[in-house]
Symmetry: D2
Subunit: 300 residues, 4 copies
Amino acid sequence: MSVQHMKVTKRIDPKYQNEAVLLVKCPDKPGIVAVLSEFLHTFDANIIESSQYSTNPENGTFFIRLAYYCDQLADKAEQMEKNFAGIARAFDMHYEFHYRAQTKRAAIFVSKEPHCLLELLWEYQNGDLNMDIGVVISNYEDSRDMVEALGIPFYYIPANKDIREQVEAQQIALMEEFEIDVLILARYMQILTPNFVKHFENRIINIHHSFLPAFIGADPYARAFARGVKLIGATSHYVTNDLDEGPIIEQDVERVDHRSDVKELRKIGSKIERRVLAKAVKWHVENRILVEGNKTIVFH
Amino acid sequence: MSVQHMKVTKRIDPKYQNEAVLLVKCPDKPGIVAVLSEFLHTFDANIIESSQYSTNPENGTFFIRLAYYCDQLADKAEQMEKNFAGIARAFDMHYEFHYRAQTKRAAIFVSKEPHCLLELLWEYQNGDLNMDIGVVISNYEDSRDMVEALGIPFYYIPANKDIREQVEAQQIALMEEFEIDVLILARYMQILTPNFVKHFENRIINIHHSFLPAFIGADPYARAFARGVKLIGATSHYVTNDLDEGPIIEQDVERVDHRSDVKELRKIGSKIERRVLAKAVKWHVENRILVEGNKTIVFH
Amino acid sequence: MSVQHMKVTKRIDPKYQNEAVLLVKCPDKPGIVAVLSEFLHTFDANIIESSQYSTNPENGTFFIRLAYYCDQLADKAEQMEKNFAGIARAFDMHYEFHYRAQTKRAAIFVSKEPHCLLELLWEYQNGDLNMDIGVVISNYEDSRDMVEALGIPFYYIPANKDIREQVEAQQIALMEEFEIDVLILARYMQILTPNFVKHFENRIINIHHSFLPAFIGADPYARAFARGVKLIGATSHYVTNDLDEGPIIEQDVERVDHRSDVKELRKIGSKIERRVLAKAVKWHVENRILVEGNKTIVFH
Amino acid sequence: MSVQHMKVTKRIDPKYQNEAVLLVKCPDKPGIVAVLSEFLHTFDANIIESSQYSTNPENGTFFIRLAYYCDQLADKAEQMEKNFAGIARAFDMHYEFHYRAQTKRAAIFVSKEPHCLLELLWEYQNGDLNMDIGVVISNYEDSRDMVEALGIPFYYIPANKDIREQVEAQQIALMEEFEIDVLILARYMQILTPNFVKHFENRIINIHHSFLPAFIGADPYARAFARGVKLIGATSHYVTNDLDEGPIIEQDVERVDHRSDVKELRKIGSKIERRVLAKAVKWHVENRILVEGNKTIVFH
């Protein structure tokens, strides 16, 4: 593998050039919504979607997602962000402006099983995911053809725990080269080091093949079979340094029974995995998620 | 039956004396949220929950539900409503103020099958429904004991299509006597006249025992069996003068198969009916529903 | 509490006097079904339902449930069982004959929260559970009225870990007095001793308020909240001496999100618990369940 | 389009050469199971799966599916079928022998939307569908590449109601040429004539994009939107001459709400359609389905 591409620049989607999302997290107090909506109104921005949540109206934490439309947003954005900085200081806000025209770029990591990758490629082709796929990285060659057929760069990087640091250095270089915003572990069966995770905090989305916190770790379908559960599931979560313990974004289950052997559980499970991961990715790239401690606020 | 009770007065629940909901529907235009949140902020009201929806950001209809907390709300409410009238005129708003302390009072109509009534009584006893049950009316005596055991007045009013007007006159008198805010048809198997429906527009909640619009009308389980469907359902909706055509509030289904005869479908269905109706009632009394044409906006 | 009732005798339901179920578990080999169906045919018994399962057609374990109708079953049953003993020896079978007319008798154990008890009482009144409720035992007085209103004996037996043996001695005496076939722990918040469990192997059904094996042990809703799961569940299982590790009979889940606090999770969960437990009990008393190691075969 | 291929012969899968399924439908009477299992035992066939159903044990219709394993089945099959003919006469049976090694061959018809075709291709590649895909026929060219990439013949046959008979003649010729066992309408948006349907009775599987019998006919998502339903669904059924009225094989639904416009309903619906159709096809090719009047018995 060699990394010799030209520096890429993000795709700007002019269709959405006047749309943005403002995500805010701060200590709750009266008047926040008034201040935020007044701020947007000052710039003639119209709120398209608004969702808020407070852990406790008295002295809790306040979260809000405001999607807005604003004529000539490109011309106004800098001034808006400048003005907003003052508000943010006054209310002790964590905040993020996301401009819809600046299409997010994803990297997909995959090992041998392609079902989650395929689902993402399919949703992407359909226009159901508001993102570009910058690169696919795999420790197997199996998925190369289907990826390259779509004009997406595919990198085969063999991986195992003995060469982990060297592998991750290559991967990080690719993430930088392709200006990657979000990493999707689409059944990538390698552990990531704390150093790697730190590079991409709350930007690595994993799919785990169980309804966490049941069956943390390896081979959850075999363990589900051994336990005789009547439901199997899948969980999409942000990756942290505690294995399978990161903030959960989405989960789902399917009914099984005594007749399902481990192979059958894997088949049923693969369908859950692909839809759960696709939903989590969709919500992430639509800037619907705020992380608070080890939990997510997902604004639908 | 005789109607000789003293005039009842609504229960005020002091626990919620500073909480209210403002529901608004109006033509969409920029700045509405700013105006509304500024309005609430002026009275030192803190927005606890906010949900909005627009049929179309350009020239559609805008809907919002604002739940707020306001110290000394009782003292301020009159002035707030007065001030709001001006805003409402300017934006051509339909609006409703609902004060949480003014517990809504429901009448439950039931025929022979008690499962939906029982579910509501159970949720009510549990404190899961933010309402009082003012009266239960039935064209059968069967439910009297379970209702009166809870200290709720029970009226047996035989009904059939030949005496419909006279029956409805009695029922309307009871609704007025008990100051009823919402009527719940908990498997009440009588058709209501347009006159009756008009009295309680968007305040009569029915449960229909199919996933509408499939199996409109009588005996849906027998027809579901005859059709060989693999799912049966239930639908809760506001009653209009078009049978089973009113705005749908909630629906749910369960899986069935060839082994389920009509009796079994009824059993499975009764469990769907009771949970679907209970949800619709809960959302109504929490003022989460706005009706637009033949559809509902339900703000969760 | 005193135990002075007359010895009770089981209710015989003449409506079902010619119906029975034969449950069989044995090493798989060719011809078993032929032998079993020939056996029944010899007695002019007609198979109404038949379900079978084999862990592995080659050298696995074979399970079958045969529900049959047989004219004058009462006169033939003894001879049938006698003849069957020979077949069972030849095939090394575990087998059970269950006569539908011999209505099973349940004991329900409950602590403070009544929702699971209420659901069972309601299904029982409806005729949806093919069992009698012989006795309800609680370490709280709360449920006495609703139980006695149905003519079911209610025993208040305070319980805590210091008096566990003495409490269980009383309970076992009651189980014997009332000729109890199945014990239902309908949110009974006391640990049972190995001695007690041994008395009622595969006949104690518990409801645990999580989707096991997640959140084994105390306070699963609080832990589900802390973990930020997007689904909560309930699990019904046979009780063994390993806490929450017995064979799972049924599980179900509901979707939740960040807005649900622990109190709300408990409310949502209580609805899952009651329907999951009711299903498990129904299948047990219909003799649909065979236990194999730590798993159940449930023949629907 | 020209039809000049060599006559194809069905693929024999030696892995399954000793496995078969016997499907039987007949008037219910005592002893049928004994006769059938004795019959199989005579040939040293071991029953792997057995499922039965009776509309009514007294004088109803009896259905059974017996999956069996039989050493040297190829040598015995002819004699078995010969012997069975006598049993079938005695019990007035409709019966079908299906040999698992004789892989069924499907034709897939598709119009513009590829999601259902893609799902089938994917399941097929995964080995999840026990069938071969003999040919794909479309009135659009869009899917050609993805079909031919898998080595499956693709025929573009423009279609509209004016040339229906001529189109169907071509299609029937292809069905014969490719020895097609089952036709799958994977969102094929053309009406079939009674003549065509008669050729393939109970062998044409359609996916309809609503939970039938709601929204029969054209554009169900637009009508679901207009009606304001809270669930949308899909239905797979055998095609008869009554539009969308054939025996239902499988249905499923997803929750939607007021925020979903028609485009969003189509996206959500497409995911339901693909999984519902894939299940129906799987059950058909595993010979799990018996048709009785306008209903299906599906033995899982």
